[in-house]
Every structure is written in structure tokens, then in C-alpha cells.
């Protein structure tokens, strides 16, 4: 086990730079999730850590050693691929034993480690099968088994659950998390699914377009997003944004309605800002409070009701635990929890904090 330090790392393919100076400190034993939209450079960054992609500039340290130019086999990392990359001509046992066989480990040592890993993952009965004789979830487990047997410095996962159906994905998510708690090990996990990130991570790195937008614990990102991108990316359904300006300690919407700001929410008088409100922080209120919206769609999910509504031209979503059933086109009034408001600069999208 080791820490990983990524210091101003850049990556160019030819003349195109796709990673623009990324710095992340990952502590020993930490579970870090890299999350971001498709094409933001998550896989590229992970592959640079693995040694599958060269590092154009910056420094990558595993433990205290700079490994920029070390070949993959010297970095002592294990990786779980999106398509699992199991060797089709080897049985499950041999898939898991391959790395140790290459290192010429003693046979009984290999056997012990493979069987231990198989037991952790519930693969004991499947060791004699070929990958094609396994279900998707079982293949996924074998891929993880192959990583565990290595007992590496760092585990890398690249969207390991994206080929599984929704139910299995939730189950495996729990399993991977439990596995991390049991086996330990520094883990870097790539996903574009923010729920996966929120539920699994000790620390989330939100990326966009080759830049790091914010690094923090899941609830920290949820409660105090640094910018509109993170605010909109973390949380589901996504945060609502309303454009307007600040006047007399309140936010004035495009429809000239007043939303009082909570204490300590500093913004200069008259400034163009964006107000961020999470759907779950809106409540239904009576006449004379909050601001008015026109209902567009009502979506009951059983445990809650999601309402899509419009405030002028701006669309927003509200989630209620109570079973409100407003009709489409109905006008209603909602109010945000003043302590759960977020203000962003109208131009840069940066969070405005006192």
C-alpha cells in the first residue's frame, strides 16, 4: 500500500493537450473516485498512473518514488478494466494466478493466495471455468480477484460496473466498498456516475475538460460546491439554477420575485448572480411566500414526488416527500430553505462565499 501524488500532470496526444495540469494527493489506503462527464480525461489520467500512457509533463509519485518513466510492471499496481479483460483461454484460477506465475512465486503460495481471494469474492465454485462460462457479475468478480491476488500498492478501477444491469450495479457497488474496507489498499476508481462516486468515495475528484474542478469528501462537494459545474454534477436530480441579481440582501429573480438570502451569504449589491437550489430543499408554501412556478410535469416515484416546473423561462425541479399531486399548468408557490442556498458569479460560475 502506498500514497499516490499527482503533481501538475499533463497529457498531450500529438499537439492536442487533453489533461491540463492536474494535481491530486491520495493518501495511503484512501478510496478516491474520479468522476466527470464523458471525454473529460478520467481514463487517460488513470492509464497514466498505470503506466499504459506516457506522462507528457508533471510528476507522478507512488509512495515516495517518482514513477513517470517506470514501466507498468515496476509500479506494482493492479487494474480492473471496464470490459474486465479476462484472458479467455485461461480458467478463472489461472486468470487470477497469472501475475504471480510470471513472478515465479512458489506454487503453494500462489494456490493459497488465489483460494483466499476466491473465497472473499465467492468464486470458490467457479475456479475451473473459462471466462465465457461466467455471467457478467461473475466476470467482474474475477477481474477484481485478479487484482486482489496481486496485493498491489494501488488498485485502479476504470468504470468497472458500466457493463452491468442497474440492479447488479448497486449490489457490486456495495461489494466493492465492503471489499475495500476488508482488504484495504489505496484505490483510484473512475466513473461517470455521480451516485457511484457519492456512495463509494472517501474523496471525490470532479473533472471536466481535462481540469480538476474540485476535490473533496462527498458531502463537502454536495454542501459546498466550488462552482456551478460541480454543483450541477453532484446530486440527483441536479441542482436548479436561477439567474438574477442581488438587492437589499435578497435575490431578485428574472421575474422580479424576491428570495431572501440566508445570513452570511455575501454578494455585492446589484451584482448579476446565479442562485443554486437543490430540488430537495424546495418546499410548497402558501400565497405571499416563496416564488411562483408553473407545473410542467408531475412524476410520482412512490417514495417521493418530482415536479418539473417553470419560473418564467427557467426550468426547475422540486422533490417532495409529501404526496402533492398538482395538475399540469397549475400555478403554485415554492420556497427554498434559506440555509441551503448557493450563490454563483453570473459570469465565471464560481461560488460566492462571504
Amino acid at each position: 500500500m502506498a500514497s499516490v501524488t499527482i503533481d501538475d500532470v499533463r497529457k498531450s496526444f500529438g499537439v492536442v493537450e487533453v489533461i491540463h495540469g492536474v494535481s491530486i494527493d491520495i493518501e495511503d489506503g484512501e478510496f478516491v473516485v474520479l468522476v466527470g462527464p464523458s471525454g473529460c480525461g478520467k481514463s487517460t489520467l488513470l492509464r497514466m498512473i498505470a503506466g499504459l500512457e506516457s506522462i507528457t509533463a508533471g510528476a507522478l509519485k507512488i509512495g515516495s518514488r517518482i514513477v513517470n518513466n517506470a514501466p507498468a510492471k515496476e509500479r506494482d499496481i493492479a487494474m480492473v478494466f471496464q470490459n474486465y479483460a479476462l484472458y479467455p483461454h485461461m480458467k478463472v484460477y489461472d486468470n487470477m494466478a497469472f501475475s504471480m506465475k510470471l513472478r515465479k512465486a512458489p506454487k503453494d503460495e500462489i494456490d493459497k493466495r488465489v483460494r483466499a481471494a476466491a473465497e472473499i469474492l465467492g468464486l470458490d465454485q467457479l475456479l475451473d471455468r473459462y471466462p465465457r462460462q461466467l455471467s457478467g457479475g461473475q466476470r467482474q468478480r474475477v477481474a477484481m480477484g485478479r487484482a486482489i491476488v496481486r496485493d498491489p500498492q494501488v488498485f485502479l478501477f476504470d468504470e468497472p460496473l458500466s457493463n452491468l444491469d442497474a440492479k447488479l450495479r448497486v449490489a457490486m457497488r456495495t461489494e466493492i466498498k465492503a471489499l475495500h474496507q476488508r482488504v484495504g489498499g489505496t484505490t483510484i476508481y473512475v466513473t461517470h456516475d455521480q451516485i457511484e462516486a457519492m456512495t463509494m468515495a472517501d474523496k471525490i475528484v470532479v473533472m471536466q475538460g481535462g481540469y480538476v474542478e474540485q476535490i473533496g469528501a462527498p458531502l463537502e462537494l454536495y454542501d459546498r460546491p466550488d462552482n456551478m459545474f460541480v454543483a450541477g454534477f453532484i446530486g440527483s436530480p441536479a441542482m436548479n439554477f436561477l439567474r438574477g441579481r442581488v438587492q437589499g440582501g435578497a435575490f431578485i429573480t428574472a421575474m422580479d420575485e424576491r428570495i431572501p438570502l440566508g445570513a452570511g451569504m455575501g454578494a455585492d449589491e446589484g451584482r448579476e448572480v446565479v442562485l443554486g437550489v437543490r430540488p430537495e430543499h424546495l418546499t410548497l408554501v402558501g400565497e405571499g411566500q416563496g416564488f411562483g412556478v408553473d407545473v410542467v410535469v408531475t412524476e410520482p416515484t412512490g417514495s417521493e414526488v418530482q415536479i418539473v416546473a417553470k419560473h418564467g423561462a427557467e426550468e426547475l425541479i422540486a422533490v417532495f416527500r409529501e404526496r402533492h399531486q398538482p395538475a399540469v399548468g397549475e400555478r403554485m408557490r415554492v420556497a427554498p430553505d434559506p440555509s441551503q442556498l448557493h450563490l454563483f458569479d453570473g459570469e465565471t460560475g464560481r461560488a460566492l462565499r462571504a
Binding site: A50, L52, A72, K73, A85, P88, L102, Y130, R146
Partner: protein
């Protein structure tokens, strides 16, 4: 269904059947001939074919002088055919695999280089054989000229490529390899491209060196296609005719006569249809053996297809 079966019967089975039938007669060109049973085979293969088989190998390889019970030329052609097939196929496999691995890498002008590799395969055999006839000409050979310019050969020295038995064998094998490599290289390249790159990456991370990746990943995954392509290659090489006929006509001293060329020579040119047919028919067991070998080789790939849980 029925017309197809009739068609197959007429155009595949009939010539084969006729050939086998002729091998049991003393037919000559222009004369029907009568049934002679195994007489042709006895004349060719002798009273003790197994003895003859090992005797000819011993005579050719270590220079013993054992008497054969059958026709020495026939047995020499059997030896030549096996030598030609084994050596040429092995070389074609090695070079073809190497080329395929090379072409599978990233490099500039990839498409053009791949197309160039195919050239020997596209040129008609007779045409390339005639080119080789020039290349192997004692006086005008470009090979001799090259060897002279790099100083391996003296100014007046020549190599008798096709006139000396050993040289002639090497020369026809060289020509056959040149012609056969593209087919193998391109087929194996196609096989290589079906191997997911993430397997190589997984193996790299597992700590495999380039050689180990080849040995434990690439090669095993390629074995099914290797079995298929090498079966075809062996069949084509074993039955080769054109190249030999243009280059040497079996000479010198029958040292490059293959069963196919000998069959043609005695059956058509010599007019002894029965003999020629018997030589051809004698090729069938060898070909069947080659097919069985690769078929059983293919069967064992459990990871690839079929059911079963072990």
C-alpha cells in the same frame, strides 16, 4: 437439395472416383485398359512399403544404400514431397507469424506495407515461377550478382541453383516460401486484430514482458487460426505442381520430383494412366492424416466454443 447433391456427385466425386478406379487398371492414354487390382501399387510401393518408406528416408538423410522393394523414383518423390512440405511449411509459418506481428504494430504507411506484403500472393504462380527461373539462372541470377557485390562470391564464381540436387531443393523451397508467406501473414494478422488490446494491457500490468505476452497471451489466442491456416498451407504445399514444373520439372536426378509432378509425368506425359493415377491416389492418406491432425488440434480449444463446464 437433390440437384445440389447430383452436382456435387458429378463434379467432385466422379473425377475422384475415376482417378481411384484408373489406379486399379493398366489404362494408357487412348486405351481403356483392364482391371489389374493392386498391381500398380505393388509396382510403385513394393512388397514392403513400410520398409521402403524408412529405407528411402535413411538413404536420403544419412546416405545409406538400402535396396527398395518398390520403385525408387516413386519413393524418392514421397521423400521429396514430405521434405518440401515440412521445411517450406515450417519456414512459411515462422516468417508469416513474424511478419504478422510486425504488421500489427503501429507504423507509418501501414496500409501500403500491408498491400505490398500481399503482392507475391496476387501474382499468378506461373508468372512468379518464371521470374524465379530467371532469379535462379546460373549466369544471369540477380542473387549471384548480389552475393558478388557484397563479396561473398568471387568475380567469376557462379552458383548452379537448379542444376545441383541440394541447391535445387533449396531453391524450390525458397520460391514456395516466398509465394506462401503472404497468405499466412495476412491471415494471422487478421487473427491478431481480433485480440482485444486490453488483454495486452492487462498482461502488461500483470508484469509480463513482451516475450511473455506473446508466449502466454498472443500465441494461445492465435492457435485456432494457426491450425486452420497451416492445414491449408500444408495441403497446398503437399499438392504443389506449377512451381516445380516450371522451375525444374522434377530434376536434377529427380531430386525435386514431388508426387504431383511424378504423377503427371508418368500418367500424362508417359501415357501410363494407371501408374499416374496410383501415385495421385497414394497422396490421399497423407492429406487425410494432415487434416485429421489439425482437426483434432482444433477440437481441444474448449475456451473458444461449445458447451460443457470443464
Amino acid at each position: 437439395m437433390l440437384p445440389a447433391a447430383a452436382f456435387l456427385l458429378l463434379f467432385l466425386a466422379y473425377p475422384l472416383g475415376l482417378g481411384v478406379y484408373l489406379s486399379f487398371t493398366d489404362a494408357r492414354v487412348g486405351r481403356a485398359g483392364s482391371w489389374v487390382g493392386l498391381e500398380n501399387y505393388e509396382f510403385l510401393a513394393g512388397k514392403n512399403p513400410l520398409w521402403d518408406f524408412f529405407a528411402i528416408i535413411s538413404n536420403e538423410v544419412v546416405g545409406t544404400k538400402y535396396e527398395l522393394t518398390g520403385d525408387p523414383v516413386f519413393w524418392l518423390s514421397v521423400f521429396n514431397t514430405l521434405l518440401y512440405t515440412v521445411v517450406a511449411s515450417a519456414l512459411k509459418f515462422a516468417i508469416g507469424l513474424y511478419l504478422a506481428l510486425l504488421l500489427n504494430r503501429h507504423m507509418p504507411f501501414k496500409a501500403i506495407i500491408r498491400a505490398v506484403v500481399l503482392v507475391p500472393f496476387i501474382v499468378p504462380t506461373v508468372l512468379s515461377a518464371i521470374a524465379f527461373w530467371w532469379i535462379f539462372d546460373t549466369n544471369f541470377s540477380i542473387l549471384t550478382w548480389m552475393l558478388r557485390s557484397i563479396g561473398v562470391l568471387g568475380e567469376k564464381e557462379v552458383i548452379n541453383y537448379l542444376g545441383d540436387p541440394l541447391n535445387a531443393r533449396a531453391s524450390v523451397i525458397f520460391a514456395n516460401v516466398w509465394r506462401g508467406v503472404p497468405f499466412i501473414a495476412i491471415t494471422l494478422l487478421a487473427g491478431l486484430q481480433t485480440v482485444s488490446p486490453s488483454l495486452y494491457e492487462a498482461a502488461t500490468i500483470d508484469g509480463a514482458s513482451r516475450w511473455q505476452i506473446f508466449r502466454y497471451i498472443t500465441y494461445p489466442l492465435l492457435t485456432p487460426i494457426i491450425a486452420v491456416v497451416m492445414t491449408f498451407s500444408v495441403l497446398f504445399t503437399f499438392t504443389d505442381f506449377q512451381l516445380i514444373w516450371v522451375l525444374t520439372r522434377g530434376g536434377p536426378f529427380n531430386s525435386t520430383h514431388l508426387m504431383a509432378t511424378l504423377s503427371y509425368q508418368s500418367g500424362i506425359l508417359g501415357g501410363r494412366l494407371g501408374d499416374g493415377a496410383a501415385i495421385s491416389t497414394a497422396m490421399i492418406p497423407f492429406l487425410l492424416a494432415a487434416i485429421m491432425f489439425s482437426w483434432f488440434g482444433l477440437q481441444r480449444r474448449k475456451w473458444q466454443h461449445g458447451e460443457g463446464n470443464d
